[in-house]
């Protein structure tokens, strides 16, 4: 995996995407399958569930009570409940997944909430490594598995706790912690 997600991705929008999100306020529910799709380019619920299962081993029934919604291009939200689609409100559930790039990227919020159900592509950090990650810094780390987005965990109060998303490429773990969530907890 060589393409690098970056902050500028959000600013690049083409005409198709404008059609998907013409007022920036509208949440459209994901179709159940690609065959049900009415909005070009919108991912299906099936594809979202497959992503979590294939990449992280999160069972599909983890999300049985959830509906998935898109607002803006490839910004997927998870809402525990049902509403008629589309819905024009400020927020619906939790930011969940970015699907605009070739490699889909879960949000930190989604990882912290659902990451404990993951079995694959999970990297456990020591306290010191977790501090570096939380500060938003990249670090060289050994990892035998696939390159790409990993669920980053650390130990807290005696259990493994999902902390966020890292991008593993070229023998280093690149922190994907958003600026507003970074903290420097180093002594």
């Amino acid at each position: 995996m060589t393409d690098q997600p970056s902050d500028s991705d959000d600013k690049l929008r083409n005409d198709d995407e404008q059609l998907r999100d013409n007022d920036g306020q509208r949440f459209g529910r994901l179709p159940a399958t690609e065959g049900d799709r009415e909005v070009a380019g919108r991912p299906s619920r099936e594809a979202v569930l497959d992503f979590w299962t294939d990449r992280f081993g999160v069972p599909a029934d983890t999300f049985a009570d959830y509906t998935f919604w898109e607002r803006g291009s490839g910004k997927i939200w998870a809402f525990r409940g049902e509403l008629p689609s589309p819905v024009e409100i400020e927020a619906l559930g939790m930011t969940f997944l970015r699907t605009r790039q070739e490699h889909w990227k879960p949000t930190l919020s989604a990882i912290q909430r659902f990451g404990d159900a993951a079995s694959d592509n999970v990297i456990d950090l020591t306290r010191e490594q977790a501090q570096t990650f939380l500060a938003g810094e990249d670090q060289e780390l050994a990892w035998d598995g696939d390159w790409g987005y990993l669920i980053v965990t650390h130990e807290l109060a005696g259990e493994r706790e999902p902390l966020g998303v890292g991008l593993y490429v070229y023998d280093e773990l690149r922190s994907q912690v958003p600026k507003g969530r970074r903290r420097d907890l180093r002594d």
């Binding site: 998870a78 409100i89 939790m94 919020s109 109060a157 969530r181 907890l185």
Partner: protein
């Protein structure tokens, strides 16, 4: 502090009241049970050498006497939320149940919204409304960090709240924790009274009436509405309830609080209020060593 002199006639042990208003409050956090347990949160704080003292009336609240509640691992994981002790009361009084539809009518920055979601085990729906986009952004960031997923957020004047995005269905419960003159937050914010004017109290009372009326209207028959403020001013408390009892289909019901409190008052500066406003509860800083607060519970009757 001279603003508070107007309450000498209604507050027992007034000198102790004034003295308490001068003392600062410790940092308090609420444990977010959507993401963890009180035991794990306490263990994680202890592991970082942070002193956390349980608040005796609510096992999900911890006082952090050394302050700085936002710089530690349990906070980063969304296990903790900084919230003044007394402000945890209105969601407890509302008592929302998993699976219900609940409206938080003046929601930002979301301390009570996220507490409502936690009380519902993040199941059902909380609709959070605020008219201020900047404050809604703080609510959004709190909800994300705390892992709330049963939340719908609307940016509008709560007095004109629309049920259209929500299938037009009425709520089971509504929390009306309105913007107010904030006199009761003086211990947290010593400048709280600096901008106080009687005109502001009168102006905001109009907004409070409108929000409470809309909440009663948008709640189903038999449903519950909780009205609360962090002020002592009867113009923003009993007078608002008096208007609701007079003008809407709702009645006041008893509130059972885990803190020492006083009944609502029925007379103030020549005005008299419906006798049922005595069912509301006034919380003064000197009785429980908290901020000041006002809370009332209404049942919707039609």
């Amino acid at each position: 502090m001279e603003v508070l002199e107007r309450y000498e006639s209604i507050v027992d042990d007034f000198e102790a009241f004034l003295a308490a208003c001068e003392r600062s409050l410790p940092s308090v956090v609420r444990v977010n049970t959507i993401k963890t347990s009180v035991d794990r949160a306490t263990e994680a704080l202890a592991a970082e050498g942070i002193t956390a003292e349980p608040i005796d009336w609510h096992d999900g609240l911890l006082a952090l006497p050394d302050g700085n509640p936002g710089s530690n691992w349990p906070y980063v994981q969304g296990w903790l939320h900084g919230q003044e002790e007394v402000s945890a009361l209105p969601p407890l009084v509302l008592d929302p149940q998993p699976g219900e539809r609940v409206w938080d009518a003046a929601a930002a920055p979301g301390s009570k919204t996220t507490q409502l979601a936690a009380l519902m085990d993040d199941d059902g729906m909380v609709v959070a409304t605020d008219n201020n986009l900047g404050r809604l952004s703080a609510l959004r960031s709190n909800a994300e960090r705390l892992g709330v997923t049963n939340l719908a957020v609307t940016n509008e004047d709560a007095r004109n709240h629309s049920l259209k995005p929500f299938d037009g269905r009425e709520y089971d419960r509504a929390l009306v924790d309105v913007p107010c003159s904030c006199e009761g937050t003086i211990r947290k914010n010593p400048d709280a009274l600096a901008e106080w004017t009687f005109e502001h109290v009168q102006g905001i009372a109009g907004v409070q009436k409108g929000i409470l009326r809309r909440a009663i209207e948008a709640t189903r028959e038999g449903g519950t509405v909780v009205y609360s403020t962090c002020t002592f001013a009867p113009e923003e408390n009993e007078a608002i309830l008096d208007d609701a009892v007079e003008e809407t289909d709702a009645r006041l019901v008893d509130v059972d609080l885990p803190l020492d409190s006083r009944p609502g008052i029925t007379e103030w500066e020549g005005d008299t209020f419906d006798p049922s406003v005595r069912k509301a509860r006034r919380i003064y800083p000197h009785f429980n060593d908290t901020g000041g607060f006002f809370v009332a519970k209404l049942e919707v009757t039609a």
